[in-house]
Symmetry: C2
Subunit: 292 residues, 2 copies
């Protein structure tokens, strides 16, 4: 491919479809920080032009997902078009034959389960750098390629809710607002997080704190507004998600957290589609009206 003089040179268009007068598009590119080919998707509202760039909501998906789950199932585009917000959905881990996976093929670690961190332990440390990818490499590529501004917010579901919270809390200068559906709020204290952190980061739990939303609230506080929706019929609620831990940590840190327990809702995209428009309107307050 020769010398990299322009990041946009490596981007390959995969698909596109018109939706709500805007466009859903998929691309593939060579990720330097992940050391593999990655696919991502973007929704561009019809008002996005070089002269009128739009802000971007980054969406981080949960375990087992790709860029497609949210884009196909969340029903977000009607409101994103109305509000004039682009949405970018990356994949949930590095991909490809050279990328190691859970030795047992489990769904909660390895491929589809990058946990939005930078792994320090072999063999994971060669490719699993989803934190750097989401925080730096992908936004730089997006902002160099599409008619978008550098105003960003971040949201996600489950493992992606953990990603949105931790990335947003650690990078209050790079995002306007944070939201999450059913996030893993305290991965140091739940089986999904303990498995991932032990493997990706090693046994020293002090290193885990840099990727735990509750620990980060305690150490950093959070200047950004946070909206969290959690279904009270979610089968993962008590063992894995623990929203009460987030609420305690946010209270102690005097962070602006609105946690909404939604009666009867589960962990699925049916839950997400029911409240995604609320989240888009929440982010729009900070992305399109100069607040925050």
């Amino acid at each position: 491919m020769g010398a990299r003089t322009d990041m946009t040179m490596d981007i390959e268009h995969v698909s596109q479809a018109k939706v709500f007068n805007g466009w859903h598009k998929q691309y593939r590119h060579s990720s330097l920080v992940l050391g593999c080919e990655m696919r991502f998707a973007i929704f561009l509202p019809s008002c996005a032009t070089q002269d009128t760039p739009v802000p971007v909501l980054y969406w981080l998906s949960g375990l087992t997902c790709t860029d497609e789950n949210f884009m196909q199932k969340a029903g977000a585009f009607r409101m994103a078009e109305e509000l004039g917000i682009a949405i970018v959905a990356p994949d949930t881990s590095p991909r490809g034959e050279s990328v190691p996976d859970d030795p047992d093929g489990a769904y909660d670690f390895g491929l589809g389960a990058g946990f939005y961190l930078n792994a320090t332990q072999a063999p994971w440390s060669e490719h699993y750098h989803m934190y750097d990818y989401v925080v730096n490499e992908l936004p730089a590529l997006i902002e160099a390629t599409f008619p978008v501004s550098s105003l960003r917010s971040i949201s996600g579901h489950s493992m992606g809710g953990h990603g949105a919270l931790t990335i947003g809390i650690k990078n209050a200068d790079r995002y306007q607002s944070i939201s999450a559906f059913s996030p893993i709020t305290n991965p140091m204290k739940c089986p999904w997080g303990q498995k991932a952190f032990t493997n990706y980061l090693g046994p020293d739990q002090d290193t885990w704190k840099a990727y735990d939303a509750c620990s980060l609230l305690e150490s950093n506080g959070c200047a950004l507004p946070i909206l969290v929706d959690q279904g009270d019929s979610d089968g993962f609620l008590e063992e894995q998600l623990k929203p009460e831990h987030l609420q305690s940590a946010a209270g102690a840190a005097q962070a602006q957290l609105e946690l909404r327990m939604q009666p009867g809702y589960d962990h699925s995209y049916f839950f997400i589609q029911s409240f995604i428009e609320d989240h888009l309107k929440f982010h729009a307050k900070y992305l399109t009206q100069g607040e925050g």
Copy 2:
């Protein structure tokens, strides 16, 4: 299983999720007319009770689909909840190991491709009776089981648009309104339809006319209002879908067809989600206000 004294006895609950304050539910049941187990899905708005039964929109999906495609990807529930309309999505063919499939495993015939007709040719004629299933057996089961009225409308996509048009035109007494996205309007004159009809119905093309929307408009006319959306960037438009044939036939029959060509849209669920709310509002005029 013993004597069938109550159709609801054979219905098995598979899944449920709250969505937009209503419920998405999947069930499995033994179909007499298809001779196999079938799964279907229903969305019930929160206002549906035994005292306040709601009308039903039947959605027929296209080639390769199950009950899940529309329910997961169409983004229909926000408006269905607002309008107080249930939605029922059957599968697209009989299913199971005893059901014959396309000998080459092609996507456009056999499993996932029942074409909403009653097959007359062996080996298809044993199970492939999707017309009777959709018109009679499934609504009887739905209306005996759920808090719904006998006010019905029908819609669908591609092969399911063909199903909605032909079933609605032939049963104007059973439905209030018809709509379709990207329907196969004239299956006698396109490769998908010719393959299916030759196999399911035999070579005598006179028998095909009972399942061809354009022929049915010519022979029956249509008393029901029809709304059709068709993307003009749909890759199947010219070879398979032929909306201009439907427009000619409807004109000659003085049927109430509104055909909307939608610039830039393709054949996908991104297209469907962009206009499904228009279709729900269209059907609501006839389902919930005593018109039609």
